[in-house]
Amino acid sequence: MAFPQPRPQAPQLPQHLLRTVECQQGAVRAVRFNADGNYVLTCGGDKSLKLWSVSRGTLLKTYTGHGYEVLDVDCSYDNSQLCSCSSDKTVILWDVGSGQVTRKLRGHAGKVNCVQFNEEATVMLSGSIDGTVRCWDTRSRQMKPIQILDEAQDGISSLKVSEHELLTGSVDGRVRRYDLRMGQLNVDFIGSPITCVCFSRDGQCTLSSSLDSTVRLLDKSSGEMLGEHTHSELFRRWPCLLLGSGGGLPDFKDACWESCCPITVLPPNGAPPFDCYGGVCSGVGGGARGCSCGRQLSSAC
């Protein structure tokens, strides 16, 4: 007779600092874990990307080739490729092992704010300040995007890709969800410029933060607001992602309700405290500080 499996413990929000890494690449524009959470990528203001080992905190590789600040990076599911976007209006596909530029894609008219692979790393989706999302094919040698989504009336600040959906947040105050399976576009009007969007872990909700210092949890299907929280003034100054990759919480909806009073993160070096909804937050500090209790959570200020 086997003992029953121990009850899985609910994931906890990050509460203590594990490691601080001095990136030495100017302002850190984005910090991203790889697919399995063993590595961290940082995008620097010095036009470089750096790959760090989480466990040891050592620098593994530096990727240079961008002409300006690197604004976002994403790692493919198999850790073989990176895609990054930069203020130099390009999106670059990297080979992780060799550090070589596999493809340099031009087409955006402005700096590219965000980039992400789809699940199978067959498409890169990049959102730019020019108001378009471009879908780049990683399989073909075609330098043109597969499709340009130009529905936004202002710059795209954030995008997330799920299995068959694309969620974009735009400065025009709208969260757009492109459903490829349904062939539909849902536009949710938020009003204030969107700084970041993401899906909840169960994929039933969307979470969006906007410049009015508010995080809103919207039902994906109906667009109704399930909850909102207005943060302290700090968020206005850091219009960055404070909502991350699920936060390790089984039901984000519940989590959001539970954490109506957000967890206040106290940065170790005397920086002002800030609220955290649980997730990756990145900032324009001078270095990336991994603040995490699990693999998937870190914060950089």
Binding site: T122, D150, H164, Y178, R181, Q184, F189, G191
Partner: protein, 988 residues
């Protein structure tokens, strides 16, 4: 014969007998042709190369083609490679010996003629001289050759010339005279026999004239001739030339190779000195003096001392030239008359000196040219003005080159630009050419008057005598005065018929403006914008109108419209035309001439617009403010992902058949008047929504605000209508968006009967207008007219408006009813309380605190409620009674869609119009809702899902009372309500 018998034995046989045939020998096969060989005497094979068919022998011993023979270049077909054809040079066919030094094509590096030394020339000269003896033309052959042959000197000579060397001079440093003399002496001493003394003589002559500091070029040294002496004559002796000896014809009796060229030529020209050489036959000192000779002076030549100067610097020769320039013969000249000839040289044979000097031709100086002389004469063409275009004719007339009496020659600067343009044949520029044209027509008329008046006055001073002139003057003055009057009054005073309504005044002023704008002599109609290009007939009418406007026709509008059209159509079209004429009037400035039309007309008529357009922003903003996310803020569109994108995402294409990518687009009329209409409409709505806090003016205007606007078809009025801003409209638009989002708009009759919907939904309207610009409107209009005909009696109005507060938004509510039923609201308990002001959030999420709050809210609203309920009946009654008579007149006058404003937004706000509007609305309501009224009342209490609507109702009711009783202080304004609502939610 006995001998015959003998001969049997010893007979003579001829030829070689054939080999005896042996019986048993096998018969030899004949040798085939290719085995038959021929050998020559040495046993070598001979090849015949078709020798038996007229062939040839090829190469040395027929070696061509053999191993040791010459191999012909392999045949290469030139069919494919014509360009690379190799040319056979003559050298290809030469032997090695030919390339050797003495071959026909020596391949050594040799100096070309250009660089060849003089020596060679000398040799050639010699050969020439020798040849010349047998030449047909006797004499120095070199002379003739030099005359004929091109002067071509070698590089060495050229170089020497460049360095200052002259023909006949020696090479070397320049010398003093003395030195040279010594040299010549030396030459004399050691030289070979110099039979002619010519050279010495010349030397003698340039004596001591040279001053000390003058240097001379060294004397040319003739190179020693190394021709071997082959004859047995003595040194320097030449054998007799038989020709000379016998015929004596040869001039050059003694050819001295050593004489310089100049001496020879001088002998050729037959100088005096040559006389002694002219001796025929055999002559010579060696032969003594013959009988034929007349001279015996120097049979035995003795060099006497008298031939020499004994004194240095002796007397001058006498000609006073000192031998500087002239040849030495000149100094010897005695005959002065022949000096000229002598000076130029000797007389050629066959020529004699002229005895008389020809008279010198008198050359007159050229005459002084007059200052305006033209070296070219221009024949003025005969211009036939009938055949030649006037421009050309004029150009010919005024062209330069002929001095026409009527038009004196003008300078470039005295011409004005148009004249210059005509000269150049350019087309006149578009646009006004003078400032005068920039003036308004009225001003221009006035200026013309002044000018003409001044002219008349001048004229009258000159000749007032004739009665005719005076009459004409009076008439013109009268006309001018009339014109001025009319032009002045047209802008200010309305036409008699237009006096009735201010709107008409506006219309007439607009037509006047259009007239002013177009009557200028500016661009023609063909180049102006065609606003009605979609409908050719209409465009034609518009063009006609514009043309008439340009001619200054006052009643251009009326005359250009189609008389077969209905009154309403005509009225509408006239409005459109006036607006369009004002909108697209020719830019009355020089700017118009600076721009050219686009070369490529890129589909000017239509624009690609996404089919689904987002609803009103302001509705959403309001919803966001109220935190009512969901249907209000959510919009769903069709979106077509790219096929490849689907493939990459491992997702089946949601639209397998369609080829569109992204949002489906439709083409829309770019310049449709109705585009403007919708645009301004939404802007009005937004303006209303933004100023939601403003105190409400009249509730009754609101639900039917837009249809009213439609009827007005006046921009000024529309602007006035949009002025009243109240929050109700915001709510209204919210409901509208909600309705459209739910896609429950029922097509057809509902849209048309419920005119609030028709106008509220811009998309619907535009769609209609795109399909048929005129028809839908007319239908609608007819329907409305029908309705007006069956207008219910007054008491019915009263009955309706007694409960108007309930009905205010019924039309929109009706649409949303089904939807609400489909999605039953969760807040059932609150339904009983009719007028709650609860946001949906609180209702759904936190029911418990809500319930506690309900009484408060109810209380809040109830405050305003009683007054509304009590007062509405009478108030609406009274208002409806007063309204109709005012409105009727206006309604009939103006129909049709509103047109874009011609650039001005009137700010005047007329209360009268508002009232009229309100009444109109009531009218509509009466028509539509009289039957539904009761039913809806019952329904209303059931539907609590949308609290918003209730808010709206309460607002409208309160506004009803507000507008009618004009007691604002009592009523809670919408903004206040909103504020409270927010407070509540915040508290929660």
């Amino acid at each position: 014969m006995a001998s015959d018998e003998d001969s049997d034995e010893d007979f003579v046989t001829y030829g070689i007998p054939l080999e005896p045939l042996e019986e048993d020998e096998p018969i030899r096969k004949p040798v085939p042709v290719h085995e038959q060989t021929v050998k020559d005497e040495k046993g070598r094979f001979k090849r015949f190369h078709g020798a038996f068919t007229g062939g040839f022998s090829a190469g040395y011993f027929n070696t061509v083609g053999s191993k040791e023979g010459w191999a012909p270049s392999t045949f290469v077909s030139t069919r494919q490679q014509k360009a690379g054809r190799q040319n056979a040079r003559p050298e290809d066919f030469m032997d090695e010996e030919d390339f050797s030094e003495h071959g026909i094509a020596p391949q050594e590096i040799i100096t070309t003629d250009d660089f060849a030394s003089e020596r060679k020339d000398q040799l050639k000269d010699k050969a020439r001289v020798v040849n010349s003896l047998a030449a047909l033309i006797p004499g120095d052959p070199g002379l003739l050759e030099e005359l004929i042959a091109p002067a071509r000197s070698s590089i060495g000579v050229e170089l020497l010339r460049k360095m200052g060397w002259k023909d006949g001079q020696g090479v070397g440093p320049r010398l003093k005279r003395k030195q040279r003399k010594q040299n010549t002496d030396v030459a004399k001493l050691y030289g070979c026999a110099l039979p002619l003394n010519g050279s010495e003589e010349s030397e003698e002559d340039d004596d001591e004239f040279a001053p000390e500091n003058v240097t001379f070029a060294p004397k040319d040294v003739v190179p020693v001739d190394f021709t071997p002496k082959v004859d047995s004559h003595g040194l320097g002796y030449r054998g007799l030339n038989p020709l000379q000896a016998l015929g004596g014809g040869s001039e050059s009796a003694h050819i001295n190779l050593f004489t310089v060229q100049s001496d020879r030529t001088s002998s050729l020209f037959g100088g005096r000195n040559s006389g002694q050489q002219r001796r025929g036959g055999i002559a010579g000192q060696a032969f003594g003096v013959g009988a034929m000779e007349n001279e015996d002076a120097d049979i035995y030549h003795k060099d006497s001392m008298s031939n020499y100067d004994t004194v240095l610097g002796g007397e001058e020769p006498g000609d006073g030239l000192y031998g500087w320039t002239a040849p030495h013969q000149y100094s010897r000249k005695k005959n002065d008359s022949k000096r000229d000839v002598v000076y130029s040289g000797r007389i050629l044979d066959g020529f004699t000196l002229a005895s008389e000097i020809t008279e010198i031709k008198i050359v007159y100086p050229p005459p002084d040219l007059p200052r305006d002389f033209r070296p070219v004469h221009y024949f003025r063409p005969v211009v036939d003005s009938s055949t030649v275009s006037p421009i050309i004719a004029q150009a010919l007339q005024t062209s330069r080159g002929h001095l026409s009496q009527e038009a004196p020659q003008q300078g470039r600067h005295s011409l004005d630009s148009s004249q210059r343009r005509d000269m150049l044949g350019e087309t006149p520029l578009q646009g006004p050419s003078s400032v005068f044209e920039l003036l308004g027509s009225k001003d221009r008329e006035r200026l013309n008057e002044i000018r003409s008046a001044a002219k008349e006055q001048k004229k009258s001073v000159v000749n007032l005598s004739s009665a005719e002139d005076r009459a004409a003057l009076v008439a013109s003055a009268k006309a001018a005065a009339l014109q001025a009057l009319s032009s002045r009054f047209q802008s200010n005073t309305p036409q008699p018929d237009s006096l009735t309504s201010p709107a008409k005044t506006q219309a007439s002023s607009e037509t006047q403006m259009a007239l002013n704008a177009w009557s200028g002599p500016t661009a023609d109609a063909s180049k102006t914008f065609k606003p009605f290009a979609k409908i050719p007939q209409k465009q034609a009418r518009y063009d006609l109108y514009i043309n008439k406007l340009k001619k200054g026709d006052k009643d251009a509008l009326e005359s250009s419209l189609d008389s077969s059209m209905t009154e309403w159509e005509r009225g509408r079209e006239s409005d459109e035309f006036v607006r369009a004429a004002l909108l697209y009037k020719p830019s009355n400035s020089s700017l118009s001439s600076r721009f050219t039309r686009g070369k490529h007309e890129d589909d000017t008529d239509s624009v690609e617009v996404t089919r689904d357009q987002e609803n009103d922003m302001d509705d959403k903003q309001a919803a966001v403010k109220m935190k009512m996310f969901g249907k209000l803020t959510r919009e769903t569109f069709d979106w077509h992902p790219d096929k490849l994108l689907c493939k990459r995402f491992n997702i089946p294409d949601p639209y397998p058949g369609s080829s569109t990518v992204g949002m489906p687009k439709i083409k829309r009329d770019k310049y449709s008047v109705f585009n403007f209409l919708t645009v301004t409409d939404s802007s009005q709505v937004s303006r209303e929504a933004q100023s939601a806090s403003k105190p409400p003016s009249s509730s009754t205007t609101l639900p039917h605000l837009t249809p009213e606007v439609n009827k007005k078809s006046r921009w000024d009025i529309a602007g006035q209508v949009s002025e009243p801003k109240d929050p109700l409209s915001a709510f209204l638009s919210e409901t509208r968006s909600e309705v459209s989002a739910a896609k429950q708009i029922e097509p057809g009759d509902k849209n048309q009967t419920d005119s609030s919907h028709a106008s509220a939904n811009p998309e619907v309207k535009v769609a209609q207008s795109d399909e048929k610009q005129t028809e839908p409107k007319t239908e609608e209009e007819e329907k409305e007219e029908d309705e007006e005909e069956v207008r219910p009696p007054m008491d019915l109005f009263k009955a309706i408006f007694a409960s108007s507060s309930d009905e205010k938004s019924s039309s929109s509510e009706e649409d949303s009813e089904e939807e609400e039923e489909v999605a039953p609201s969760t807040s059932e308990p609150i339904q009983s309380s009719a007028e709650t002001l609860n946001p949906p959030i609180s209702a759904q999420l936190t029911p418990a605190p809500d319930i506690s709050k309900v009484p408060d809210l109810k209380h809040l609203t109830v405050q305003s409620k009683p007054s509304a309920e009590t007062t509405t009946a009478q108030n609406t009654q009274s208002s409806s009674q007063s309204a109709p008579d005012k409105s009727q007149g206006l309604d009939e006058e103006e129909f049709g869609p509103r047109l874009p404003p011609p650039g001005f937004i009137p700010s005047a706000h007329s209360p009268q119009l508002k009232k009229q509007k309100k009444k109109d609305k009531e009218k509509h309501k009466a028509k539509k809702h009289k039957k539904e009224k009761k039913k809806k009342k019952n329904k209303k209490h059931k539907h609590k899902g949308k609290q918003k609507k209730r808010v709206e109702e309460s607002n409208s009711s309160s506004e009803d009372t507000d507008s009618n009783s004009e007691d604002e202080s009592r009523v809670v304004s919408t903004s206040e309500l909103l504020q409270r609502l927010k407070n509540i939610s915040n508290k929660r």
